[in-house]
Symmetry: D2
Subunit: 337 residues, 4 copies
């Protein structure tokens, strides 16, 4: 950690501050006097150093970490890839490619079982579906809730596919006991109380990136879960908020190799939410796999007779089948290189 002090600092203040840093955090402090400013360098384990406290000091101009503030999520201290084993067939992070597919919302047993069968046939190895739905409007459909969880389990029973679904509240953790992967949505990425409680479980967690979270903040949220003792965390890139309005979000494809470099955790990409447009799912899925993603999470919706739609960002099972074929072919070609 490098601390630049203000030009106005007095020698006494520097000594006082240095002494405090040494005693509070057990770090060594190196000092260098420039023409206009004094710079301090902290040597040792600085993850415990409260950067906001340092910034808050009146004599401090700016602070910069050299070392990352996350430890358990850090590849430096855990060089090998984390592999998360869901069942005998599904191990995420081991170099294979997994697709989690299914509808935005679980609507009925017939729907979810049929989609589960369809996506399994196309090669998906996990079933996704929303039971509790975070909606911008209080007047919009909020999901089938616990009934939705039951329907997901029925679909799992019918197909053997492990299930992935979103949690929205700490008090629901018990209800998710029998769910295979618990998803934390983008809007809850910094719901630290929820993260802490999930850290006490041993459930695999799919942690979506917040709408405007930096990569470091995202890794710190993973660290919250891991600090509690649960190291089964997957990071899901789902697009970030930018000024561009053509797509709902902007897929940050660079996040994939960056996470792979900074961390040992698996990276999943959500091309459906990243773009909000079904015709963009294929090219974005291809880009994600080419950039090194461990998995994809894709919205698939079958077309009940009375519905007009396959969803703005959802694929029909037929289109999904085509996308899955291309994506797996790409993965194979990449593996052969």
């Amino acid at each position: 950690m490098i601390i630049v002090l203000k030009p106005s600092v007095t020698p006494e203040q520097v000594i006082g501050f240095t002494t405090k840093l040494t005693s509070d955090y057990g770090v060594n402090v190196n000092r260098w006097d420039g023409v206009h400013s004094t710079v301090l360098g902290l040597i040792g384990d600085t993850t415990q150093v409260d950067i906001e406290y340092i910034e808050a000091q009146d004599i401090v101009e700016s602070v910069r970490r050299v070392q990352e503030p996350y430890k358990k999520a850090n590849r430096k201290f855990h060089p090998e890839n984390t592999v998360i084993k869901i069942n005998d067939e599904v191990s995420i992070g081991d170099g294979s490619l997994h697709i989690m597919a299914g509808p935005c919302s679980v609507e009925s047993e017939e729907q979810i079982v049929q989609i589960a069968k369809d996506v399994k046939k196309s090669g998906a190895t996990l079933l996704r579906g929303g039971a509790f739905k975070p909606r911008t409007s209080p007047y919009a459909f909020q999901g089938l809730k616990s009934e939705g969880l039951d329907l997901l389990k029925a679909a799992r029973k019918a197909t053997g596919l492990p299930i992935v679904t979103e949690i929205m509240r700490t008090s629901h953790i018990d209800m998710f006991e029998n769910i295979d992967i618990i998803q934390v949505g983008a809007r809850n990425m910094q719901n630290f109380e929820l993260l802490k409680e999930l850290g006490k479980t041993d459930k695999p967690i799919l942690l979506k990136r917040g709408l405007s979270a930096t990569i470091e903040e995202w890794l710190m949220s993973a660290e919250y879960i891991m600090a509690g003792g649960n190291s089964k965390v997957m990071l899901c890139e789902r697009g970030i908020r930018t000024y561009e309005t053509y797509t709902r979000n902007t897929l940050d494809v660079s996040a994939i190799p960056i996470i792979k470099k900074l961390s040992h955790l698996p990276v999943i990409v959500d091309p459906s939410h990243a773009s909000g447009k079904s015709w963009l799912v294929e090219p974005l899925a291809m880009a994600a796999v080419a950039a090194g993603a461990d998995g994809l999470i894709i919205e698939v919706h079958n077309d009940p007779p009375h519905a007009l739609s396959d969803g703005a960002q959802s694929l029909t099972p037929e289109k999904f089948d085509k996308v899955a074929k291309k994506v797996f072919a790409l993965k194979e070609a990449l593996s052969n290189t």
Copy 2:
């Protein structure tokens, strides 16, 4: 609501879709055929119309609301300003200016009581202080928690100032029973489960704007609370995330007059978090008041003998006194015009 259909749509699809809209939502549908596209206009109450469902239709190119999606927070349906009465002296939204001041974190009884006395003397009419602290790092100090709440109450007892503090978890609501204003932090602005529960209380809520929330999303979060029956919501602008790195966030001063136009709810501005720099608090507070804010929330930290700091974004009581004087003088000058 205006729906632009894709050029490829067939007349049968248009009729089927129109019929569905009419029967599902009880709206009238107006149709207009352009050279390249067909446009539908929905007439009636469209707040119940699920815009994501509409967007999801295969035949839809784009959708746009003409009417705002919020009702209870909407000035159109509630032309008069909402005034939130906290006690006999403090009514927020009635044209007067209120300052909520206090430390980022409550540290000790001595500290919080002293600051409360200081800020009261300078004209603050509410005391703020963090007991539960949302921190990016799991290793950072997380606040004094329930003890912090007790210390705030002690400070209230000593000064008479109503207290404002942040809640982080639904299960804590009972613990906040005796708090005057409950703050929802930026990271929880779309923690919909928390908003729903707060909607069932009758506590005044200070709803901070999310890091990258649009004004409409922010108003929809207020709507969540109000839909539950609690209409005592204050909106707090605290800076948004942009590409600029000089300040921690970018204060969106335009949000003040925009909220005043779109909604009847009071607007509070947080110049301390918006900038992250104490020397910017004064000019931003002045700008906020000149733009029409109903209140300010400002970090003030006293300087215990052994501390080196007045905080990167905190003011000392002396500096706060100076800022408060200028701000109240400005308010008076504006009132006289």
Copy 3:
């Protein structure tokens, strides 16, 4: 074009405005009265309609285009891909993949000729190199200027590779007479005077996306060039400015399929500038090709004996060779699917 009028509009104003629109722009106007607002729909060719003029009307609440504002760059009016033939070997946009490679700045004849030979051996079909350099600081090296152009020509002579280099000023157009592709940098994307002059030439133009340009603004800049008569425009995605600070810019990989859908112009991707980090060039290049890019532009810098560096975002010829091999193998695998 759909125009939503303010609730306060009078019937006379609507009639006056409608008449004006019809007479000024030769469009038909369709009118629809909602509960709270009146909406006008314009039918006919609206590319000539000045949207800012419409927005400026006191009675107008908001305006929205249904039709894109660009014509010559629009795939709707030109369904086939534009193919830009540079020489007998290089046709950009015909389904093949081209790599433009070379140093950020041309430094010496020895350097540029050597790099040209190296990148040609690895499969690059065009040589890039900066002669006029846009620099944030007036005190930084501004390029070898016209001498740099001469050195590029020498490298072209030695290798046969066509050359790509950036123009910064209208008065330099004559100097670029013998350059194969003229690049317009991100900072000049809306230097409309330069675009207009380039529209009068018949040179292939590589138009970089502005730092925070929307896709529509970018296509409108292409339209500026094309409106002047020059239809040889390639669009170059080079990353956009976002809140994320880990990378210099955020590569908007979605822009590739979006441009391919909206326009017939070729898309080139610059993974070097998008990330600012050489180790990210490979994964981003792979992602770009998988998403459908027609070409890549990559910084390559050889390592003269006295230099310590291969550049923060530049590859050495050895690393470039490896990236090129992977990228061409990916392209072939995609073609075989």
Copy 4:
């Protein structure tokens, strides 16, 4: 300047690099070895150090300036405010408040003379008006060009108001000989060739902030002009591009006190372009003045009998008169405090 080296660096590389820095830039280099990294601190004048060159070194992890990269625009080296005297009545930056008012585009002599008279009566001390108009679409009205300049001069003659108008092209500089203040638009903020040529003149320059320019980049563009010898630069904040879509841009009100701290140059604020909505001009103008702006630039358009509009972001002379009164009253109240 602080340079963090990669963990993999060898002692020989550090020595080689240090020697090079010392000899190339005449700076002293301080070295500090941490547990995971080596850090170099450069002491001396680092404005000449090419930060991109440093970043480009293979052994460099990251670089950070301690000293600002601008010199002539830097308050540290020029503590007193720059005052730009336009004529006997108008000195910008001396603590007084000046309003530049006028239409977006000059349309006719009658129009511009009438507006000039109106705004003068309301207290404006400068006349603004566009003769050369940067337009997103090549099909939109591009201004009256040199005729527009003549009409501005006629309005100046009729009222005595100095005139401000935008330049778009280096070759037009001669044509602007007799203009009082030359405006550089947001899209040309990094048109470095134009900045260099303006640096050779002695004209006052109004430099608008680029759409997504950081404060440092903006100051570096001022530095370009000043490095050429022209120190009469005013900085104009006109809103930045963010994710928020309610306003055209987001006024960065914090930029005002930040520029005043970092630089000695005057700051002008453009509330009309920042918001794109005329009803926001008043609150934003008030906020700007309260935050310390030296001047405002406001769009005013009179209402010729056949026009329906006062402009989405333009005020009528009547509304402008009201805004000007409030703004000057605020300025006076602030001066009395």
